[in-house]
């Protein structure tokens, strides 16, 4: 497995949190996904060996939990809440705005490779609906105007990198 040295360190540390190694399955998947971007076949066999499990024990966990992905995504991950309170406050419009701004459709990588937009279920911030999680930061009351602002910001950051 090709991972950063600190990821290996954190993996070894987190395993000590539990009396059985298998409990570290989710933490390891999180750490590897954060480092490598997605969960490859190689990662699954590697985790299985590390935790003394069969690869199927890891694969069945990966396919069960919505946050783990088997393929790469765009540089930024935009998760728009789809559930009732956000929908009542215009969550679908918010999602469409992001799709238009990046010329893409939910679930796909935008043509410039910059973002992947996804609809997700309740993000537990219903009082400030509609909400959007961009990478690890929660944005509240994201109406069409704010969605455009956030999109511009992402585009500006991308331009600086280029």
């Amino acid at each position: 497995m090709n991972l950063k040295p600190e990821t290996f360190q954190r993996i070894d540390e987190v395993i000590t949190h539990y009396p059985t190694k298998r409990s570290a399955t989710l933490p390891l998947l999180h750490l590897i996904q954060e480092d490598a971007g997605h969960i490859s076949d190689e990662a699954i066999t590697w985790i299985a060996q590390k935790l003394e499990l069969q690869p199927i024990n890891v694969l069945e966990v990966v396919t069960f939990y919505p946050m783990f992905r088997r393929a790469p995504i765009g540089r930024r991950h935009i998760k728009v809440c789809r559930t009732l309170s956000c929908a009542l406050s215009g969550g679908y419009k918010t999602c469409e705005t992001f799709e238009k701004e990046f010329c893409t459709h939910r679930g796909e990588i935008s043509p410039d490779g910059e973002v992947t937009i996804e609809f997700v279920e309740c993000l537990a911030s219903c009082g400030t609906a509609p909400v959007v999680l961009i990478d690890e930061t929660l944005h509240e009351k994201v109406d069409v105007t704010k969605a455009k602002q956030l999109s511009d910001q992402i585009k500006a950051e991308a331009a600086v990198r280029k």
Binding site: V61, T83, L84
Partner: protein, 452 residues
Amino acid sequence: MSAPAQQRIIFQHIDEPGYSNDIECYLRNGGYEVLKKAVTQKPEDLREEVKKSGLRGRGGAGFPCGFKWSLVDRKSGKPIYLIVNADESEPGTFKDRYIMHQDPHQLIEGTMISCFANDVKQAYIYIRGEMPEGARILEKAIAEARAKNLVGPNILGTGYSCEIYVHRGAGAYICGEETGLIESLEGKRANPRIKPPYFPAVLGLYQCPTIVNNVETLCHVKYIVEHGAAEYTKIGTPGNTGTRIFCVSGHVQRPGYYEFPAGTITMGQLLNDVCGGPLPGRTFKAVIPGGSSAKILRFGERFKGKRKVGAEMVDYDWAVEDVPMDFDSLAMIGSMGGSGGVIVMDDTVNMVEALANINAFYSHESCGQCTPCREGSLWMKKISSRMVHGDARPEDGALLKSVADQIPGRTICAFGEACSWPTQSFIAKFKNEFDGYSEVKKALPAERRVLV
């Protein structure tokens, strides 16, 4: 009658200017004094105090916390685990988020007191995957508390040791169900376990006795140990002691979180006086009182019956606005207080479309191990989505109801009930909207708000 004043015992410092989530700020505000007091007491006395307080779990079921603790098998010789259920995932609920982000040490202190009271040496905080920032804040807070000898080995020189670790979920709603959560913490799919015969209090995490408590519940424990059960029971009403935090979302002027003595505020006071009433030019149509699985209430319907007040039976005749927001009253009128997530819908909402949104959620979140739930939730989603996006037929309401009626009571966990109650209650209360949707749909503006 205007609404009573808020009484913030759990949300005391939430949104307070200048209040930060580091340990220095918490200590300046008297933090960890209750833990210092608690570790000088006998664990069984602390447990008795919690039992006397009448504290009911704030995760959704309202199960008495002291009673839950009394079920723990203390004779097995196996370690006892405590898990903090921070998988806040019932749509409409967003209270635990603020405790963890803004006042994490309150949770850690409550957790440590509860661990000491139950002779727990290892606790886990199971936080939902969608709160990466919350997980980081908690990890930092635990490290700060450890550095001050408030978590970890030999706490405050008492010889008592207890460790807390944060464990992140990965986007599955079912992890809020306690046995699903335990499976997930063991590194597996979060398929809930069959119970009875064995409950987590006897055979839980790693087949050891386990306590699973909600974030807010543990904060209440801290308050109870600080002020005593007698003081605590003075807040609220008998059987519904302490405060309740309501999370109001949807179509009101001021959505947000509000903490009141339990049972002292009615739905009408909460929505009209506290939350400012409906949006301009609109009227309230329906409200879900306790998270999206709670049965919906229709404005205009009346609830009649007899209820116990003190020792007497009294007749009641309530409109939705008159219903007291406590566990028992909401159960009495056929819904539930649940997690305190109040979702409000006004007259611009079409109920078929709102139900289609909820059904899509439950179909996505079913763990899939019980056929009635896995297939039933999927069919309810398919039928209601077809009504909205394709052809709606007059008999669809009856079809949805027949699917919903075949799920509850036939599944391992309460998800079966949770996914069928919305469909059952929407159709019972808004039958004409379902029957006439095919006609109504033609007249709906094309540019309307999309819900599914």
